[in-house]
Amino acid sequence: MSAAIAERMRSLDQTTEDALRPPRYGWAALVAVSLTCIAIGVYSWSLIIRFGMQYTGLNRPVGWGVLITDFVFWVGIAHSGTLISAVLFLFRARFRTAVYRAAEAMTVFGVMTAGLFPIIHLGRPWYAHWILPYPNQRHLQINFRSPLVWDAFAISTYFCVSAMFLLAGLMPDAAALRDGSQGLRRRFYALFALGWRGTAEEWRHHGRAYLFFAAFATPLVISVHSVVSWDFAVSIVPGWHSTLFPPYFVAGAILSGVAMVITLLIPIRRAMKLESIITLDHFDMLSRLVILTSLILTYSYSTEFLLALRAGPGPERDTLLYRATGAFWPFFWLMVLGNCVGPLFLFFKRVRGSLVGLFFVCVLVNVGMWLERFNIVVSSLEHNRVPFDWGTYHPRLVEIGITLGSFGWFFFWFLLFLKLLPAISVSELKEDAHHAALHEAAHAA
C-alpha cells in the first residue's frame, strides 16, 4: 500500500506542476484581452478624473448607478471563496478540497476589484483617505454611525483576512514548488512558502491557525454583505429600507460567488487537464449549493414583493411595481429568469451532470445577479416617494468602460495566479489520497 500512496502523492505533484504550464498561446491571448479591458477602464476613469462625474449618467435623483452596482456585484463574487474554504471546512465537507484554492483566489481578486469602485465613484479619488480615521489638522473625525464607514472597515478587514487565509493554505504547496525549482522561480515560491519545511511542529500550529481562520471568516463573510446591504437598508428610500436585506444579500452573494466559481472552474479544468482532480462529483455538489441559494433568493424576492403588496398603497408598493414594470422591466424579468428559473433546471441530474448545461446556467446566474444589483440601486432612486423626485438614468459609455475594465482587472490577476501558483490544494489532496488508500485497503480486506 505504501508504494501506492507515494505514487498517488507523486502524481498529484506532477499534475500541479503541469497545471502551472497552461496552454501558452491561449493564456497569453486571454492576458492580452484582460489588459485591453483594463486600458479601456483606466481611460474611462481618467475622463471622470479630468472632467468630473458629468461623464457618467448619474443625475438627480439617481446618484448611484452602474459603479455602485459593480461594487456590490464584485463583493458578492468575493463571497464564495470564504464560503467554500471556511464554512465547508467547519462542516467537514471534503469535496471542498479540490476547488477551494481557486475560489479563495477569486475572493481576494474580487475584493480587490470591489474596493476600487467606491474610490472611482468618489469622482475625486485623491480624497479617498478621508474615510480612514486618523488625526488631522482639520479636527474632523469620520462618522462611525455611517454605513459607508462600516463598509470601508468591513471590506478592508475582509480583504486582509481572505488574503491571509489564502496565504496560510498556500504555504505548504509553495514550499514544495520552491524545493523543486531554481533561480527566480525558487525565490518567488520562497516568498509564499515563508520558510515552510513541513515539520510536525509547523503542521501543529498550521492546523490550529487554519481552524481559527475558518472560525473568524465564517461570521465575517456574513457580516460583510450584511454591511453592504445596510448601505441601502439604513436609508429610508422605498425599495431599500427593509430588514430583509442582510440575509437576502448574503444569499445572493453566495449564489453569485458559487456560480462564478463554477463558470471559471469548467474552462480551467479543461485547459489545465485537471479532470482527475476536479471531478463531476465536485460540480454536482457545487450545483446543489447553487440550487439552495437560488431558492433562498427566490423566497426573498417573493417576501419583498408580497409584503409590499400586502401593505397596501404606498411608496414601497409603487417602487417595487415600478421595478417590475418600469423603464428597466426587461432587466427585472431577466434577473428572475437568471436567478430563480435557471437554477431550477439543476434539479435535473442530466443538466447538473452536463458541464455545458451547468456552465450556461451559471453564466445566466452571473448576469442575473448583476442585474439584481442594478435593479435595486437604480429603480429605487428613479422612483422615490414623491413624483417631483422621479427621474431616469441611462448608463453612459464611461461607466460601461469602467465595468469592462473591472472584469479585465479581475481576470488579469486570476490568470497570473493560474500561471504562477497552484490552483488546487496539493497538501490537502495528499491527505485525501491517503484516506482514500486506507478505505480501498479496508474495502479489499
Partner: protein, 166 residues
C-alpha cells in the same frame, strides 16, 4: 539554526511512519521529530504533541481588537462630540459593526503572525534535517542523538531508508 546528530528514517506510508514514532516513544525516545507533505492524522496523533498556543494568541489578539474598536469609536466620538441628526454621540449599536470588524482584523492578524512565529520558533528550537521529498511524497522521522538501536527500530517499522545525520 541548530544542527544535531541523530538518525533519520524515510517512510512512504504514513501508517508505517506512525508506527515508527510510537515504537520510538515506547523505546524511551522522548524527542521524536517528523516532517511530512500533509498533516497525516495517524502521524500527528502518534507524535502526541502538546496543543498549540495559537488559540491563546488569537484570543489575546481578538481581545485587543475589541478594546481598540471601543477606543476608536467611543474615544473619537467623545473627543469630537458632534451631534448628527439628534443621535447620541456614543451610539453603541452602530459602533458594534466597527468593533466587530476591528476584532476580526486584529484577531486574524495575530492568528497569522502567531502561526508564523510558532513555526519559526520551532525551526530554531528543534533541528529537523530537510529533504525536499518530505514536502512531496515521503515522511521523515528523526531521532536526535540516537544510535544503532534506533536504526534497528526504524527499519523494523518499515523505513525505506535509514541514515545517520552527523
Amino acid at each position: 539554526m541548530l544542527h544535531e546528530p541523530g538518525v533519520l528514517a524515510v517512510f512512504a506510508d504514513p501508517l508505517q511512519a506512525a508506527r515508527a514514532v510510537r515504537a520510538a516513544h515506547e523505546a524511551g525516545h522522548a524527542d521524536v521529530r517528523a516532517a511530512m507533505p500533509a498533516p497525516f492524522p495517524e502521524v500527528m496523533e502518534a507524535m502526541a504533541q502538546k496543543k498549540s498556543i495559537i488559540g491563546a494568541v488569537t484570543l489575546g489578539g481578538a481581545s485587543v481588537g475589541i478594546c481598540l474598536g471601543l477606543w476608536l469609536t467611543i474615544g473619537t466620538s467623545l473627543a469630537l462630540p458632534i451631534s448628527v441628526g439628534g443621535k447620541p454621540v456614543v451610539a453603541l449599536p452602530a459602533f458594534l459593526v466597527i468593533i466587530f470588524e476591528v476584532t476580526v482584523l486584529i484577531g486574524g492578524l495575530s492568528n497569522f503572525l502567531g502561526m508564523l512565529i510558532g513555526a519559526f520558533a520551532a525551526r530554531r528550537k528543534s533541528f529537523m534535517p530537510h529533504d525536499p521529498r518530505f514536502l512531496r511524497d515521503r515522511i521523515g522521522v528523526f531521532l536526535p542523538g540516537a544510535g544503532e538501536s534506533a536504526r534497528v527500530l526504524l527499519r523494523a517499522a518499515g523505513a525505506e531508508e535509514v541514515r545517520d545525520v552527523a
